[in-house]
Amino acid sequence: MSLLETTDLVKRYPVRHRLTRRRIGEVSAVDGVDLAVDRGETLGLVGESGCGKSTVGRLLTRLDTPTSGTVRFDGRDIGPLREDELRPVRRDLQIVFQDPFSSLNPRHTVRQLLSAPFRYQGLEPTEPVEDLLKRVGLKPEHASRYPHEFSGGQAQRIGIARALALRPRLVLCDEPVSALDVSVQAQILNLLRDLQDELGLSYVFIAHDLGAVRQVSTRVAVMYLGVVVESADRDALFGRAAHPYTHALLSAVPVPNPDVERGRERIVLRGDPPSPLNPPSGCRFRTRCPKAADVCAVERPVLREIAPGHRVACHFPEERTP
């Protein structure tokens, strides 16, 4: 049994008119997503903006309630739980946010921030604030400072320390490095890796940066317009991507090597992702897909296994081997 598992997860939001506040439709931010994270594993969740990956993150941690489908943590469906029933679960299920500054209350000192987990859980602190700081590479004397006195990287370390305070089993990292400079990104990614080794954590790592996902994940799922189009082990995905979208995505990432960059065959997708308000029929990627055929407009491809652990939702998956 997986530590965290979702079945047919759906989240719809009402869309309101800007002026009249009238409901004019519905966005299926997440439309039937199945995911599983095993103990000690890192699931990378990748996709472009608006693909629903962050919504999945909020559903996994129950910051949002799913419209339908289940989220099982440690075998228990946490979807319908009330806030007070959820509280013990939250000890095991923590989050690191994208923007370290906006996720740290500017009015609280680091000490207050790092003792908040215990206070909110009604627990005695098991670990002094100073130790938590040291664990994430900060100095104990930082405890009395306010968030704005730190650099972005340092602040993100505080966010990580807070997430780890309760010794969770799974940490959801929602774009943890995309707000940071490249040099700091590397440090944070290394820190996450070290902590995983040390504490046996599981991660769900949400990012749009394929390089960062590759760096930390053991398994990767690719999302497009609210659905998972492909999921596989890291090496399988980056080496033998089967979905045309995954291919396009990988080919679009510029590589810091002029020779590679200039020489390579590039798949440049046409147009923009369609609006999730009115997604295309059948395969959602068909409007931009170089391989689209008539069937794609009619039949929605299901996620099927094409190799052990490698699942893809496409009528015409790539069969290439490296």
């Binding site: 909020r58 941690t61 910051l63 806030e83 007070d84 959820l86 509280r87 013990p88 939250r90 000890r91 299920l93 923590q94 989050i95 946010f97 994208q98 923007d99 500054f101 906006s102 996720s103 740290l104 209350n105 500017p106 009015r107 609280h108 908040a116 987990p117 206070r119 909110y120 859980q121 306010y146 704005h148 972005g152 966010g159 807070r162 309760l166 995309s178 707000a179 400079d181």
Partner: protein, 301 residues
């Protein structure tokens, strides 16, 4: 990628930054002096604000003060009221008590009510927000001055000061509530609130520990900015005859009673009017400076 960090020039304490602006420093001094004057009124003047001095006015001239500039003399440094001969200085000093107390208490009422309702509305949204929002719309659509006058003249005379505080605060809180609601709405969707929720924080803690402390700045700014408005409104109500009861002096009342006299004895309206102007100005300058110092939005500008 460039990310705008939330910069807060907190290295210098706010008060010191406030005092660095000369105008704000002067305003602060004026406000402090006024408050001291109001608090220590009995020590400052020995004359009673309600004592008649018929020797200081000339009945043959309709009660015009004897002497120049509204009867300024050693005995009456700011002159006397026509007809009654009451000491203007004493009335100014005691009037400051009434004016300031009402303004401060009305601010308190509006800030407390506005913050609580605005916070709840902004944080919870939905039905609560709709109800509070409607209430604020309603109160802000009221022709409040007309209604205040009608209301005050309709209610029993029991305690005019308390009534004024309640009415001013009652019509004033939506302006606080609107700001708090907007901020609370943004904050409630903020990541640090999500982080606290993820840590299992109960709602009460979210409201009081996470959101509320971040509202102190806008609330403090709007409170400082609203005091001069209340001073002026209280004076206006007194001016229109529904302010504090005589013989309690209030600046608005003094100006109102000076209206028929403005041509015969201009000093009589210039003195309380001047005090009122200086007070309102000082509070306005101060409020402005407080906003500049505390509001990151204006710092950026």
């Amino acid at each position: 990628m460039t990310v705008l960090p939330i910069t807060r020039p907190a290295d210098v304490p706010p008060l010191r930054r406030l005092l660095r602006q000369p105008s704000a420093a002067v305003a602060l001094v004026v406000v402090v002096l006024l408050v001291l004057m109001a608090v220590f009124a009995p020590l400052l003047v020995w004359t009673s604000p309600t004592e008649f001095d018929s020797a200081a006015v000339d009945p043959a001239l309709g009660g015009l003060p004897r002497g120049a500039f509204g009867g300024i003399s050693a005995e009456h440094p700011l002159g006397v009221e026509p007809v009654s001969g009451r000491d203007v200085l004493a009335r100014i000093v005691y009037g400051a008590r009434v004016s300031l107390l009402i303004a401060v208490l009305a601010t308190l009422v509006s800030v407390v009510v506005g913050t609580v309702l605005g916070l709840v509305a902004g944080f919870f949204g939905g039905v609560v927000d709709a109800v509070v929002g409607r209430l604020m719309d309603l109160l802000m659509s009221f022709p409040s001055l007309i209604f205040m006058i009608a209301l005050i003249s309709a209610l029993p005379e029991a305690n005019r000061e308390a009534l004024l505080v309640l009415v001013l605060g009652g019509f004033g809180w939506p302006y606080v509530g609107r700001i708090v609601r907007g901020q609370a709405m943004v904050l409630a969707r903020g990541e640090f609130v999500a982080a606290a929720r993820a840590l299992g924080a109960p709602r009460r803690a979210l409201l009081l520990r996470e959101v509320l402390p971040n509202l102190t700045t806008p609330v403090l700014v709007v409170a400082t900015m609203s005091i001069p408005g209340y001073i002026a409104t209280e004076a206006g109500l007194s001016f229109l005859g529904v302010g504090v009861r005589p013989p309690t002096p209030s600046w608005g009342q003094m100006i109102a009673s000076a209206v028929p006299w403005y041509a015969a004895d201009p000093a009589y309206f210039l003195i309380p009017g001047g005090f009122l102007f200086v007070t309102v100005l000082a509070f306005n300058v101060l409020g402005d400076a407080v906003r500049d110092v505390l509001d990151p939005r204006s710092v950026r500008r």
